[in-house]
């Protein structure tokens, strides 16, 4: 016989204990696998969402100081890793003369449409890409509004030609398919054709580099910049209003947290199971040592058992995790309204999961193995089990303080931007471990207070239950550790996500506060150089409508501020309405006065990136012209992710020549909103604009945000289920461990019902106490996440206490622990009395 035979015999005699331990590994591995795959699927979904809103990630090559440049100046870039496509772009306004006499001015873009379609970077709803000198593409919505289709012809005036050129519509572009390069253009020419028509042959406004999905944009940008001549620059362009970007940032950080916390939970679940496994066999280990087993032999015994159970649990866990990941990924896809994200069953997942089970089990067995070797030899001779250690060892307090210090230092480094925001995750997990380590100190007073609420009819059971918990604060703390992690996960991330989303939605609500929104799609580049007759005409027509109370115009274009790319917003500032901007360290009145003086306000993210501060005078470059502008104040803004500069429209006209209004916010007189639909629709059709009611815009925004939030709740829900399984497993083993104690209680006269109620009460007290500690940990976690976001956003996000989130988590914690204890308690009290008393 070898010692491993003893192991096998123990498994045969007590299969429940071995199975429960293996089950803990399976739950842990399954959780990690499911969370990892689901988080991966979610990130892919978020990436698709971001691409839907902003198009594929890009880097722009432009002329330093603005203006066009000769395409031949561009050095070879296609060989750089991460380059998906190089897209030279040329923009110019184009007036379309329709057969019915209408004249429409649109922004046109020159591009190699044939190549883009081949690469899948441009999708056509109908027809073919333009390749001949007399072919154009129209964006499908524009075509519909103009009543045009494939094969129709329009006249396009060209420079130095008396007779307009007759152009055929060769195809219709899918809406949003060209948004990533068109910059508001709805008409596509072949770039060489447009260049010839504009007397700008071989000239381009920019070269947009489409970045491969898995490449790093900043790294590629740096690589491109290294190759460029001095008069060209590479930059990551400020996107359109990508408010979703900020929601997605919080979501991604949340995913990192969930994944990290799941791994931490895995160690807790397995470690707890291993410790209970060893504790149950204290007497046996003591005997082995008495008979001459060395400490090393005992350690190897425990570790070998852990390794075998880890491998077995890993196999089962991998299968369970894969099975769970499927529906969760599908749920995430539904929430994001994305096509089925799915996940590829990579061949490495199974062996990796088994290895994870092995590693987690062996690592988690380290402390139990140490405990097994330090068991007093006399314990094996004692008639009764040794009493548990009294009080809380100093080492727990020192460990808690150590973890808290590490977490605080980590977080400080993130806030000071020494570490990137993602490094908040290990700090948050360390802080959570600090909370768990303080549980032996926190648990007794919390349990004593909770015990006051036990009904009088359960006084005896409550007294005994409380005494059971208080007898072994350290042991109990480990049992609640899993619960604390699960509750903290739910409360912390739930708060962080909702707070972040509310911040973004609050901004959007202030920004979009009209009944109707008329818009061109995006910014009008280059139009400001000429009179935008169409835009002014639209504004006058709208203002003239009866039923219109006010019209607020917003002009949007791109520029550079102090060297940083940004979006410049020119806006009306009505005297009778609150400003849609939230100033930082300034009042509304001060903001208005500053804007009236011709000064600007900058978004906090732009300020953080460029280092500009309130009071600075900075160079602002728009349409190739650079003018100095004073920054009056910083504001919380999510336009273009906060990289924005706001001025009044008259200031924009004077400084940059920006006259057009890309967006008109129309507020109706009371009760007149619905009546404005028809007249506004007529106007937009005539001018190829888009009309949306604010409710539709709100719905669109809610859709994006809701999708992201729901996907996160799905993964959080997974985390809670896993935590619940872990708690259930732990509580079950805890109860089984007490078989002898329960038998003794019955021997001295307690009824089965009383013993069962005592056990369930004990679990309820643990659940409530653990839940409360998890609540505190969760709120601190939420604070950590928001503080970590501050460098990125440039402003703090308010952490709001949400009673519903707290209540759901606390109730679930109590219910799960109570249910987990009830069944094994009933089984334990049904055992023969003598068998229970003689149980080891």
């Amino acid at each position: 016989m070898r010692l491993r035979h003893l192991l096998l015999r123990q498994w045969q005699t007590r299969p429940g204990r071995a199975l429960a331990t293996a089950a803990s590994v399976a739950v842990a591995v399954g959780a990690v696998v499911a969370t990892w795959i689901s988080a991966d699927a979610s990130r892919a979904g978020y990436g698709q969402l971001a691409e839907t809103l902003d198009g594929p990630p890009v880097v722009d090559v432009t002329a330093r100081g603005g203006g066009r440049f000769v395409i031949d100046e561009l050095p070879p870039l296609a060989d750089l890793p991460g380059v998906r496509a190089l897209v030279p772009l040329l923009y110019r306004p184009a007036r379309l003369l329709l057969e019915d006499g209408r004249r429409v001015t649109q922004l046109a873009v020159g591009v190699d449409a044939v190549s883009l379609v081949k690469l899948g970077l441009l999708e056509l709803e109908a027809g073919e890409p333009c390749r001949d000198v007399d072919e154009i593409l129209l964006e499908a919505a524009l075509a519909k509004s103009l009543g045009l289709t494939v094969g129709d012809e329009v006249l396009v005036p060209a420079r130095r030609r008396l007779i307009p050129r007759r152009m055929r519509v060769s195809g219709l572009v899918k809406p949003d398919s060209m948004g990533w390069f068109a910059e508001g253009a709805d008409v596509v020419f072949d770039i060489q054709v447009l260049g010839a028509m504009s007397l700008a042959t071989a000239l381009v406004d920019r070269v947009r580099v489409a970045v491969a999905p898995d490449a790093s944009r900043p790294k590629l940008c740096d690589a491109i910049a290294e190759r460029l001549p001095a008069d060209l620059i590479a930059e990551i362009p400020a996107g359109r209003a990508s408010m979703a970007e900020d929601v997605l940032h919080a979501a991604n950080l949340g995913l990192d947290f969930v994944t990290g916390l799941t791994v931490a939970m895995a160690f807790f679940i397995v470690g707890n199971a291993m410790l209970m496994n060893v504790t149950e066999r204290r007497r046996g280990f003591s005997l082995l040592r008495l008979l001459g087993a060395t400490a090393k032999q005992v350690r190897q015994f425990v570790t070998t058992e852990a390794a075998i159970l880890g491998i077995g649990g890993g196999v089962v866990g991998a299968a369970a995790g894969l099975a769970a990941a499927g529906p969760i990924s599908a749920g995430v896809a539904r929430a994001l309204q994305a096509p089925a994200l799915g996940f590829a069953m990579q061949p490495w997942i199974l062996p990796a999961a088994v290895l994870l089970g092995f590693l987690v089990a062996v690592a988690a067995a380290w402390w139990p193995a140490r405990e097994a070797t330090s068991i007093d030899l006399l314990e094996g001779l004692a008639a009764a089990p040794a009493p548990p250690p009294q009080g809380v060892p100093l080492k727990f307090i020192l460990v808690a303080l150590g973890f808290a210090l590490i977490a605080a230092v980590n977080q400080a480094l993130v806030i000071l931007e020494v570490l990137p925001p993602r490094m908040t995750v290990p700090g948050g997990i360390t802080l959570l471990l600090a909370f768990v380590a303080t549980t032996p100190i926190l648990l007794p007073p919390i349990v004593r207070v909770l015990a006051w609420f036990i009904p009088r009819s359960l006084r005896i059971e409550g007294m005994l239950a409380t005494e059971q918990i208080l007898r072994q604060p350290v042991r109990t703390a480990l049992t609640t550790g899993v619960l604390i992690v699960a509750v903290s996960n739910g409360i912390g991330l739930g708060h962080a996500i909702r707070d972040n989303v509310d911040d973004v939605l609050g901004w959007y609500g202030r920004m979009m506060r009209a009944d109707w929104v008329l818009s061109h799609a995006g910014m009008l580049q280059g139009v400001a150089e000429a009179q935008s007759l169409d835009s002014q005409e639209v504004e006058e027509q709208v203002r003239a409508l009866p039923g219109v109370a006010s019209v607020e115009g917003l002009g949007v274009t791109t520029g550079r501020v102090a060297g940083g790319a940004c979006v410049i917003v020119a806006r009306d500032v009505p005297a009778d309405q609150l400003l849609p901007l939230t100033p930082v360290n300034a009042t509304d009145a001060e903001l208005r006065a500053a804007l009236a003086r011709g000064e600007a306000v900058a978004g906090t993210v732009l300020a953080r990136r460029t280092g500009i501060k309130a009071g600075d005078e900075v160079p602002v470059e728009v349409f190739g012209r650079t003018v100095p502008v004073k920054i009056a104040a910083l504001v919380v803004d999510y336009t273009s992710g906060g990289a924005s500069l706001h001025v009044r429209r008259d200031t924009a006209r004077a400084l940059f020549g920006l006259r057009s209004a890309d967006i008109l916010l129309v507020t109706a007189k009371p009760g007149e909103a619905a009546s404005l639909r028809l007249p506004l629709e007529t106007i937009v059709v005539d001018h190829a604009m888009i009309l949306r009611s604010f409710a539709e815009v709100q719905q669109f925004v809610d859709g994006i945000v809701g999708g992201v939030v729901n996907s996160l709740w799905a993964i959080l829900g997974l985390g809670f289920v896993v935590g619940s399984l872990g708690v259930a497993n732990t509580v079950t083993m805890n109860v089984l461990e007490k078989k002898r104690t329960l038998g003794l209680l019955r021997a001295v006269g307690m009824t089965r019902g009383q013993v069962t109620r005592m056990v369930v009460l004990e679990s309820i007290l643990l659940g409530a106490a653990g839940g409360l500690i998890g609540l505190a940990a969760g709120l601190v976690t939420a604070l950590f996440i928001q503080l970590a976001s501050q460098p990125l956003l440039g402003h703090p996000i308010k952490v709001t206490f949400r009673p519903s989130v707290v209540a759901i988590n606390l109730v679930a914690a109590v219910v799960v622990t109570a249910l987990a204890a009830w069944l094994p308690a009933r089984r334990a009290v049904r055992l023969d009395l003598l068998e229970a008393i003689s149980a080891e």
């Binding site: 045969q12 046996g284 008979l291 001459g292 001779l381 009294q390």
Partner: protein, 250 residues
């Protein structure tokens, strides 16, 4: 009454000025369980240590067996000072040179009787075949060969105790320490176990130290060492007293 007897020529086990004080919490002075005790045991002796509950006899046995370390003094087993051995060294001594028999048998419930008996050899890394052979020999010596495949829960108290004695003998130890080996047995089984121990001493020259509170059990030994309050107060000749075997007591 203390019998003045000459010191043994070649004591297999010697305890010199042995003391054991158990620490207590809260600043309360520790409890002295054994005080300045000297004892020498010759090879082949059957010594019974007796005394009332709390007299320190079990504590003394634990120190003699290297289970617990003395607060002062030393234990020499075959000339080896147990105090200088580390944890692994003590474990080796317990495996190879000392056999233990406990009141509650302490057989591992998951193993068969034969496997329980072979356990000390398994822990010592002895080849499997040799372990089985030695276990069978030991079981034969105690008359339990016919139950070798049974688990402890299928055996009576007396059978389990005989199995435990076989386990104690399997490594051919220098000394066999028995702590109340008949404490959990009825009179018939007690007598059987006692007889077995006497046979081992008589037929194999096994050195046995037995702790008991029962004077009738103690009387079966060759020498009776009576303890009170942690000290040896009396040494008497037992029913098996043969060649002079000495002890000094303080």
């Amino acid at each position: 009454m203390v019998l003045p007897t000459p010191a043994p020529s070649f004591p297999i086990l010697r305890a010199e000025r042995l003391e054991k004080t158990f620490a207590t919490a809260g600043g309360v002075p520790g409890v002295p369980a054994v005080r300045e005790l000297d004892l020498a045991v010759a090879a082949g002796e059957f010594v019974a240590i007796t005394g009332a509950s709390g007299s320190g006899k079990s504590t003394l046995l634990h120190m003699l067996g290297g289970i617990t370390r003395p607060s002062a003094g030393r234990v020499l087993l075959e000339g080896t000072d147990l105090a200088v051995l580390d944890d692994d060294g003590l474990a080796a001594i317990r495996r190879r040179r000392i056999g233990f028999v406990f009141q509650r048998y302490n057989l591992l419930p998951e193993l068969s009787l034969e496997e329980n008996v072979a356990l000390p050899l398994v822990l010592d890394g002895v080849a499997a075949a040799r372990c089985v052979e030695a276990a069978r020999d030991a079981l034969a010596a105690v008359g339990m060969s016919h139950r070798s495949g049974h688990r402890p829960d299928a055996l009576s108290g007396g059978e389990q105790q005989r199995g435990a004695i076989a386990r104690a003998l399997v490594t051919k130890p220098a000394i066999l320490l028995a702590d109340e080996p008949t404490g959990a047995l009825d009179s018939v089984n007690s007598a059987n176990v006692l007889h077995l121990l006497q046979q081992l001493v008589h037929d194999r020259g096994q050195t046995v130290i037995l702790v008991t509170h029962d004077p009738e059990i103690a009387a079966a030994a060759g020498r009776i060492v009576r303890m009170r309050d942690g000290r040896i107060v009396e040494i008497l000749a037992g029913a098996q007293a043969e060649s002079p075997a000495g002890a000094t007591a303080s």
